[in-house]
Symmetry: C2
Subunit: 164 residues, 2 copies
């Protein structure tokens, strides 16, 4: 049972971490700088907790192992999860969910390709060659090199892209 | 059912985001700078997806609402989840899980107090007054002002503390 509890704790910590990042961004927008920083700090504590559980479960492997996990996760979301969730949201006429599941599905297709390529490169013992990366803060669209004038998935302007 | 699917998608995105942050830190340590940056960028895309689902579920409220969610979550972990998980890990002699659940439990006690205080301050329409915050990168111990010589929970040295 302990293994199952660690899996549940990893899920709980990941959701708490995510909630705190979301609330931190909200506080930042309202000019509550200290509260935003506090949420970000505590989010990091939950990252540490989640990583401890993940390591105890034995899920942190070689770079290739880790990349294969990512390929499997993105592929599940592309082939199973998001098409079904999007279809159900359409069927139940839940337009907001239609939108958020469509946004996610489009980005995951890109992620899966990037991870597949990254795994080939890792197998040769090299680092990936990737230029600047831009993420659409409205839909998560992921692109290398330059942020587009308008997001091809959600139409957001270039100013909405975050650089990495 | 769509609501349940959004809840599951929020969980899936939070876990993917967390996995990618963990792997990004691993890649950084191995000197794989681009791969580490790529993981961090894609983790941000999953943050955007998770936040879209969370908003569609109606869970982003006022600052007080958001803080109450945090108080409830931390309180559950302190009073229910982690004592039981820690006890089970002891009972099944799973020492690694005994350690990770103990580490988490100790930090959550601090988080709950900080969030309760923050809610009182938010109710007066003010930002919290908090100095520098330090998080132990080994156990998540959370402290304001100065990092201790040695972490009181896990014994890690001051150099293991991350500043916010
Ligand atoms: Fe935690
Ligand atoms: Fe993805
Ligand atoms: Fe977009
Ligand atoms: Fe995603
Ligand atoms: Fe916490
Ligand atoms: Fe510690």
């Amino acid at each position: 049972m302990t293994r199952q509890f660690l899996e549940d704790a990893f899920c709980g910590e990941s959701k708490a971490h995510m909630r705190y990042l979301i609330f931190s961004a909200e506080a930042e927008e309202k000019g509550l700088k200290n509260l935003s920083r506090m949420w970000k700090a505590i989010a990091h504590a939950e990252f540490v907790h989640a990583r401890n559980h993940y390591r105890a479960l034995g899920y942190i492997g070689s770079t290739e192992d880790n990349l294969q996990q990512c390929i499997d996760g993105e592929t599940f979301e592309i082939e199973e999860m998001y098409p079904v969730y999007n279809n159900a949201a359409n069927f139940q006429e839940e337009n907001e969910a239609v939108r958020t599941t469509h946004f996610a599905l489009e980005a995951e297709k890109i992620h899966a390709e990037w991870y597949k390529n990254a795994k080939k490169v890792a197998e040769q013992g090299k680092d990936v060659e990737v230029g600047k990366i831009f993420i659409c803060d409205v839909c998560g669209y992921t692109v290398e090199g330059e942020a587009p004038e308008k997001c091809p998935v959600c139409g957001a302007p270039r100013s909405k892209f975050v650089e990495f």
